[in-house]
């Protein structure tokens, strides 16, 4: 499979995520869209990893492995982020009983 397919696929997912962030008001959904963006990145990283592996396997049997490890770390971070993010959203919900991001706009100008 040529790499550009993966690039386009990932970018498409990434941009869908961005579009989701832009179009939705529900904090949770926005957060999910961000997760979608991260997954797009992960996919691309794995694809690159395999691409580099194919190119460099002759000299280095573990060529490209770092890409996949990076994905692992992204997942780790994402998990941590989710816990914090959801805590924040829950805290907000407790106070205002809404998860609408536009609901809170005291801070402006």
């Amino acid at each position: 499979m040529k790499i550009e397919y993966y690039i386009v696929l990932s970018l498409a997912l990434f941009c869908i995520g961005i579009a989701g962030v832009l179009t939705r008001r529900n904090a949770i959904i926005i957060f999910m869209c961000i997760e979608l963006m991260l997954n797009a990145v992960n996919l691309l990283l794995v694809a690159f990893s395999k691409m580099h592996h194919l190119a460099g396997a002759a000299t280095n049997p573990t060529a490209g492995i770092d890409g996949q490890l990076f994905v692992f770390f992204i997942m780790v971070v994402a998990a941590a982020e989710v816990s914090v993010g959801l805590a924040i959203i829950v805290m907000m919900y407790r106070n205002v009983h809404s998860v609408d991001v536009n609901f809170l706009n005291r801070l402006k100008h």
């Binding site: 993010g85 907000m92 991001v101």
Partner: protein, 459 residues
Amino acid sequence: MNAIIISAIWGVVMMFSGVFSKSNAVVRIMALTGIALLLFVNVLEWNGVQLFHVNVRNMLSFDSFGLFFNTIAFGSTALYFLLSGRDMEKVGLHVAEYYALIFFILCGISIASSFNTLLMLFLGIEIISIPLYIITGTDKRNLKSNEASLKYFLMGAFSTGLMLMGITLIYGAKGSFNMDDISLGTYAMTPMLGAGLLLLLFSMAFKVSAAPFHFWTPDVYDGAPTVFTSFMATIVKAGAFIAFLRLFEGSFEGMHPQWQTLVAIITAATLFIGNITAVFQQSVKRMLAYSSIAQAGFMMLALVAMNGMAKEGLVYYTLAYSLATIGVFAILIKMKDYTFEGFNGLAKHQPVLAATNTIFLLSLAGIPATAGFMAKFYMLSAAVSNGHVMWLVILGVLCAAISVYYYFRVIQAMYFKDGDTQQMDTTPGFKGLLVLMAAFVVLIGIFPQWIIDKLYNIF
């Protein structure tokens, strides 16, 4: 490595100190001990003493630049603890946890100042960011704090996404996360490399609150408990800048001409928006938020210029900026009223606070004989010596002139207007420390070289 490990450990220690002691004083003393220890071990490392023998596999590299910055960051934090530690206790019950989070952030800063691979950069930035999301929201009953926290989190996560996409594209192009590999032969801006660089640039710009990625800054700084705003606006921002500089110097210096214009545009926008918007603020806190954007614009000049002077200057700038901002915030926290009117007549009732505040503000405005001037001088010199961005330099000084407007509004309020007496719980120690800081600001403003040399010699 010393700093990373000790700060992480001390973060855990602080967590437990909250469990074992209900006394805030004990926690505070623990924290001060920790920061002193941190400072100490960092200086030790600077002098070549490694407490831990860890094979970092070329993922981190501890150069004197990073270590020097760490020293500044830890020193500033120590001052911050001393000045504003008590005020942290007013935010909420989890004092020990706040300290723990701050130590974790310091750990992230240590990583960000010494990373040698994009992975460590990513981790470092995240270790800084995630605790920040939390301490922004620590004032849980305060809707502003909630809002700030949520905004910060959503946008921060978004920018993380951008950063990761950038890293991925660079990985795609160069096949490695290691900066040495990336910078190898990186002279032409090929599409994938370019796109990756741009995305990284945007996400880093977000972290240092450079326009047009600065939107979170005013709201978050405004909404966060003031005592934490102080920390965020100074040490954290400085750390992000060091990471920014490290990244672009280490990875993309070969392509400097290709991205210089873009960074110059971002710098110009930052300077402009930061300064212009600060003019119309009514709250000093929010004004300081915008001013931190404006100061970021000046620090961005280092990236635009990207030469020896810029690097040296950026460290100096972070020092000057952090000291002054911590001082101003420490005083601001004591105020009942955060508007400009709240400062009316302060000079009459609290001459020491007013005088020191004036020196800090003068330093922020970049008036000679304060550290802020030398900092701006370094930045301007770096940009001028670069030679390609004279327009930016001129815009910079015009913006600096605008900045005088809002900084001096505070001075005017304190000195030239009459206001009510305010009861403020200030201790002699607090005032003494402020005076010392102000003196230091003036001293390094007049003898920067001397001070820096001395620092080098002592440590």
